[in-house]
């Protein structure tokens, strides 16, 4: 027993166990109502992969149905804008799937009608070379949903002869360094790769004790475990909303083996990017 500051007496935990353990266990047992709530929540948070054109759910994992040799994943609005402007305008891409998921961070409640702008997670392949796949993920995939996402996309036994490139952003205040943060020239790129990725990355590697978070970390870990060559390009920026300078910070990646053959018209891409920025900027009046 212990007394608190406010005078109440509370039970202190005891590892030796007490007589009252059985009573506590009964209290902890779930009621049918709790079970039902838990089941509904799990169903709501399920990650579903389907084809929007046919409105059918994919029976197998995406990469089992569409095997690829190059898989480029953009996570976050700046990375997505980069791929939209510099890669997707240089060829005909066909949508092959869409991952639908809900969590507390989702602002869109209407998950029935998804437009490309606000779609959660869309997968494309290049019509002229279907072994090149692209993923645009502009939603947040929660921790409990990451494993489901990986299973639905990569499957339980992925091919090892593919190369994965992941692009994402993080706020520079998360970057740990002994230098003063005011001396950092944001935005800047850092890379993290799996053991099987042999190409030299286009920027310096991410130093310890910095770590990668969320879906990019889950994908990279998955690739490391399954020995898939994968590289993550992480852009540290001080502007997390859609920003031209942050998007352009990814440009060095255009010289990589995965992206070089996919990029054709850089001036046109820059124009498309500017239009995207203008369309986005008009929406908010909070900052001037």
């Amino acid at each position: 027993m212990a007394a608190t500051f406010f005078g109440e007496v509370v039970r202190t935990p005891c590892r030796a166990g007490t007589e009252d353990e059985e009573e506590q266990e009964e209290g902890r047992r779930e009621t049918p109502e709790d079970k039902e709530v838990r089941r509904q929540l799990a169903r709501k948070r399920e990650v579903r992969l389907f084809r929007r054109q046919t409105k059918t759910t994919l029976e197998v994992s995406l990469l089992e149905k569409h095997p690829c040799s190059k898989f480029i994943i953009a996570i976050g609005n700046n990375a997505v804008a980069f791929l939209s402007s510099f890669v997707m305008n240089s060829g005909a891409w066909e949508e092959v799937g869409c991952a639908k998921l809900w969590n507390e961070w989702c602002r869109t409640t209407d998950t029935a009608h998804l437009s490309p702008a606000e779609a959660f997670c869309v997968f494309y392949h290049l019509k002229s070379n279907p072994s090149v796949m692209l993923c645009q993920c502009s939603c947040y995939v929660a921790e409990d949903q990451q494993y489901q996402w990986l299973e639905k996309v990569f499957g339980s036994c992925p091919r090892k002869n593919m190369q994965v490139t992941i692009l994402t952003c993080r706020h520079v205040t998360d970057y740990k360094t002994s230098e003063s943060t005011s001396s950092l020239h944001t935005p800047f790129l850092k890379a993290l790769k799996t053991q099987n990725f042999k190409e030299p990355p286009f920027c310096s590697l991410l130093e310890q004790p910095n770590i990668v978070h969320d879906l990019p970390a889950a994908v990279l870990s998955y690739c490391q475990v399954w020995r898939i060559p994968a590289v993550l390009y992480l852009c540290y920026t001080d502007v997390m909303k859609l920003d031209l300078i942050t998007v352009e910070a990814f440009k060095p990646v255009l010289s990589s083996r995965s992206l070089k053959c996919l990029v054709k018209n850089i001036p046109q891409s820059t124009e498309i990017l500017k239009k995207l920025m203008t369309a986005n900027e008009i929406q908010s009046n909070i900052y001037t």
């Binding site: 502007v239 203008t278 900027e281 909070i286 001037t288």
Partner: protein
């Protein structure tokens, strides 16, 4: 660690940070760029115009505001906070004029704004103002002034400075290019401000707004045409400089 000391404005962290003030400085970086230049006989304020929605009245989306006939300011950060600070500063300018029969000095009104901002970093239940301001003007003695304030309530005089998004890039440009020759006359100072903004403004002159104050003259806002003329001149000068350079190398 930061999360235990970043909720209340009045709480210092063990290593001496006031996190709310530092977070307010991040809010400033979300605003578009503003640059201020103090010339010999002119002060210039240039800003990156915010994109305006089709149905929005452009006149109501302004980053450069006059505080009095001889003082004006540009801000970066939270729009609503800026409105409150500007209103208070304008009232103070008139109150000062009525009380002591003299217009405010640029330093006085800057100190007023900075003191107001500092108060909000030391009050319980209030948050700091999420804006930085560049305040320019001429005093009675005819000397041009440029001051910058930030959410912590500090203010300093500058020869040239930038605030908002990409302020660092613009400041570096100014450090390299702000010379006595560059501000020798009014048109050079204006061009310097536009060149500094063009470093970070992607769509060129269309997205720039410019204001100047000359000695004993009221604030003048440049029209879009005038800015375009300046931008064209700058581009011509750049081309000529590049031609000269390529001639020298061959």
């Amino acid at each position: 660690m930061a999360s235990r000391y970043d909720r209340a404005i009045t709480v210092f962290s063990p290593d001496g940070h006031l996190f709310q003030v530092e977070y307010a400085q991040e809010a400033v970086k979300k605003g578009s760029t503003a640059v201020g230049i103090r010339g010999t006989n002119i002060v210039v304020l240039g800003v990156e115009k915010k994109s305006v929605a089709k149905l929005q009245d452009e006149r109501t989306v302004r980053k450069i505001c006059a505080l009095d006939d001889h003082v004006c300011m540009a801000f970066a950060g939270l729009t609503a906070d800026a409105r409150v600070v500007i209103n208070r500063a304008r009232v103070e300018c008139q109150s000062h004029k009525l009380t002591v029969e003299d217009p405010v000095t640029v330093e006085y009104i800057t100190r007023f704004i900075a003191t107001l901002k500092q108060k909000y970093t030391q009050s319980n239940g209030r948050r700091p103002f999420g804006i930085s301001a560049l305040i320019v003007g001429f005093d009675d003695d005819g000397i041009p002034r440029l001051y910058q304030t930030d959410p912590s309530g500090t203010y300093h005089a500058w020869k040239a400075n930038a605030i908002g998004r990409s302020a660092k890039t613009v400041r570096e440009f100014l450090e390299k290019n702000y010379t006595e020759d560059a501000i020798a006359n009014d048109s050079e100072a204006i061009k310097l401000a536009i060149r500094a903004l063009l470093e970070v403004v992607q769509s060129g002159g269309k997205n720039i707004e410019l204001a100047i104050i000359r000695r004993n003259q009221p604030l003048k806002m440049f029209s879009a045409k005038e800015i375009e003329l300046q931008v064209n001149e700058i581009e011509k000068e750049k081309e000529e400089a590049e031609k000269k350079k390529s001639k020298k190398t061959t």
